[in-house]
């Protein structure tokens, strides 16, 4: 994916596992303004499907990008409302 975006904040949840990557992502999103973009870096392999599922089900957020960089999983989420 090559979507254009500026990252407003990066959340580091490396070393945490379910449910904390999703919970902390939600808490971080709540502190942003609409249209701002959050980057989340995690080591939890489950975060790939968890963050995707969360973004899909939750109102006001949009998943822009996800990448598997070996040991680190990167997620980019925009707050839409």
């Amino acid at each position: 994916m090559s979507t254009e975006y500026d990252i407003a904040e990066t959340l580091d949840v490396k070393g945490l596992s379910c449910p904390m990557p999703v919970v902390e992502t939600k808490q971080a999103i709540d502190t942003l303004d609409a249209d701002e973009v959050l980057e989340v870096v995690a080591t939890d392999r489950g975060s790939m499907s968890d963050i995707a599922g969360w973004a899909d089900t939750t109102a006001g957020v949009e998943l822009l990008d996800q990448s598997d960089e070996g040991d680190v999983f990167r997620h980019v989420v925009r707050k839409t409302a």
């Binding site: 596992s17 449910p19 999703v22 919970v23 939890d44 109102a59």
Partner: protein, 206 residues
């Protein structure tokens, strides 16, 4: 059906009845279409409003107080809160251990009758074995970066999950309200749990 409809209509609006035809008149059909359109719009606006605030409600009944069984309700509750859902967890019987601030930090795994622990029941029944398997599980929990039960309770409360302590079982176990975590709801029973469940989209018993 058609005769029912025409009986319900107002004859003044019905227009000329063409000589014994028993179907609804054009005006009656028009009125029905308008009513249906209004109803569809009403329902659609409800659906949109639901989506806008995340919408869903979940109620979990937590009845178990072993270390392994304390996790699922709290993990689901905190995750659902992250979805923006309205979540209630009603704790009853041994589920109350999760809300008891002191005891929640000392939850144990049961080794006997648990085929997932790597020891036969005969060994598992020896004194101190529950402590050992609990210690092993706590070490695993720490290693994979899963929060403790106390941390999950705090997270749930922070995110607005309504953690409720069943009054009857609290009385039965002689627990004082002050022994629970601060924001726990007390003074609730089966009827309030059922009424929450009736309004919920998702109901789970753990």
């Amino acid at each position: 059906m058609s005769s029912d409809v025409s009986e319900g209509g107002d004859p003044a609006d019905a227009g000329p009845d063409d000589g014994g035809a028993d179907g609804p008149s054009r005006a009656e059909l028009q009125a029905q279409v308008t009513a249906l359109q209004e109803r569809v719009e009403e329902l659609e606006s409800g659906v949109v409003a639901d989506d806008a605030d995340g919408g869903k409600r979940m109620t979990i009944i937590a009845t178990k107080g072993t270390l392994d069984m304390a996790y699922p309700p709290l993990i689901l509750a905190s995750t659902a809160a992250a979805f923006g859902w309205d979540v209630t967890v009603f704790h009853t019987f041994w589920g109350l251990e999760i809300l008891h601030e002191e005891r929640s930090k000392e939850l144990q795994l049961s080794s006997v009758g648990n085929p997932n622990t790597p020891m036969p029941n005969l060994v598992a029944a020896l004194p101190g074995m529950d402590r050992l398997t609990t210690e092993l599980m706590n070490r695993q929990i720490d290693e994979v970066g899963t929060p403790t039960i106390a941390e999950l309770v705090d997270t749930c409360l922070e995110m607005g999950v309504d953690l409720q302590a069943c009054q009857m079982t609290a009385d039965m176990m002689d627990y004082d309200e002050a022994e629970f975590y601060d924001e726990v709801t007390t003074g609730v029973g089966a009827a309030s749990a059922l009424s929450e469940m009736a309004d919920a989209d998702i109901q789970l018993l753990v």
